[in-house]
Amino acid sequence: MNLLEEFAARHAHKKLLLPEDVQIFGAQIEKLYSSTEAKIGDRRITLFGTNNYLGLTFAPQCLEAAHRAIDEEGTGTTGSRLANGSYSNHYLLEKEFADFYRCEHCIIFSTGYQANLGLISGLIDSKDVILLDAHCHASIYDGCSMTGADVIRFRHNDTVNMEKRLQRLGDRAQSTLIIVEGIYSMLGDTAPLQEIVRLKQKYGATLLVDEAHSLGVLGETGQGLVEQAGVLDQVDFITGTFSKSLGNIGGYCVSNHPQLDMIRYVSRPYIFTASSSPATIAATRAALVLLREGQALRKTLWQHSRFLYSKLDELGYTLGPEPGPVIAVVLDSHTLAIDLWRRLLDNGIYTNLVLPPATPDDKSLIRCSISAAHTTEQLEHIADVFSQLRKYVTDA
């Protein structure tokens, strides 16, 4: 077999999984009506798979800022910040993120994926150790594999299991980076952060929290789980993304450690890629203002999330462990998950279908993400449809 035949053979089973008549992954969206509605095929579909938690993708302030930036600074930066220089708005956004987190330092990256890659691969040496929650996002796993360090997983949200691994490390615990997430992307549950902070201090380790799904969602000002748990000052590094609650694209890392600034000179995912476009930076700056002042949006988001979670729970679906803007319906078989996903789409609802190995414990998920911008009618509609479809789910 040549290289391409080997590739095809390796992935043949994946094709078998998927029906040929509908595009399950990467659906083609013809037109957007709003942050919660789009035309897919020839139908108007309600979007419950966007991560657009605050619904800011069409916020007039963000649109206006983006339009102005395009007119003034053009469509792209055409290169890396280290080589081509940084526009002052890139630095201003960093300053605003640092200010938001009451931290000394911030670096922004072109995506959240690259923020994790860039921080982890820049900071960690092959002699160090990384201890990560088993449910961490692929960007964290990929960052870890770039380091050559010893990478050890602990059971999801199990601090006893985590402490055992810290104990076994002995003196090496002090050269260990612990990595957890604020809200986990697949099941939507939160990390037991106070206990994790206690353990990291007890063993002298360093802690990174990825707030990708919790930025704008948790805490009075939307800093994320660090704010809700009251441990901002005790966390060493925070990463996150502009691609969810900020309705944009890009990533950030904030810290009080001066070492963060050095990452700019040693981190390949920062150095060897183009910086974010002027429109992206301008819209993100505007969105960050809305996010910081977004108590009303957060309140609405949580009302919506609790509503759908309790409806699905009452219907007897197996869900992630706690209510939140990521609501995962957990299914034992991928055929059932694909079937349910299709029926939801047939009823005008777009959700995220997630299959192993991207999911924990070999399960399949229908992942619904909730937005402050959903209307009561849209929420009642999805609850109704799930109620009608309950009969097809025999193993829930």
């Binding site: 050890i152 002995g170 190995p357």
Partner: protein
């Protein structure tokens, strides 16, 4: 207390038999991904179970050259004997 290679292989065999199609015979030559059809995450989850049984930590980066059950047992044996 460190375990012998045979003890470790048997522990591994027990766990793998539980998660494989009924009647699967697990030998040191059995391939983890090609024969047992486990994806990378499943292999990692199984390792987490063994870590607790043997009280060792298995760094993911040590698994790069592990393809068969025997190779995994050998790695676990080495980590187990080198623990202080």
């Amino acid at each position: 207390m460190a375990h012998t290679y045979d003890q470790i292989f048997q522990t591994l065999q027990g766990i793998l038999e539980k998660v494989s199609v009924r009647g699967t015979v697990i030998t040191p030559e059995t391939g983890l991904t090609d024969q047992l059809k486990m994806d990378s995450m499943k292999v990692l989850d199984i390792i987490m179970e063994i870590e607790d049984e043997l009280d060792i930590s298995v760094p993911m980066n040590n698994l790069v050259d592990v393809n068969t059950v025997g190779e995994l047992a050998q790695l676990l044996f080495e980590l187990d004997t080198s623990k202080s």
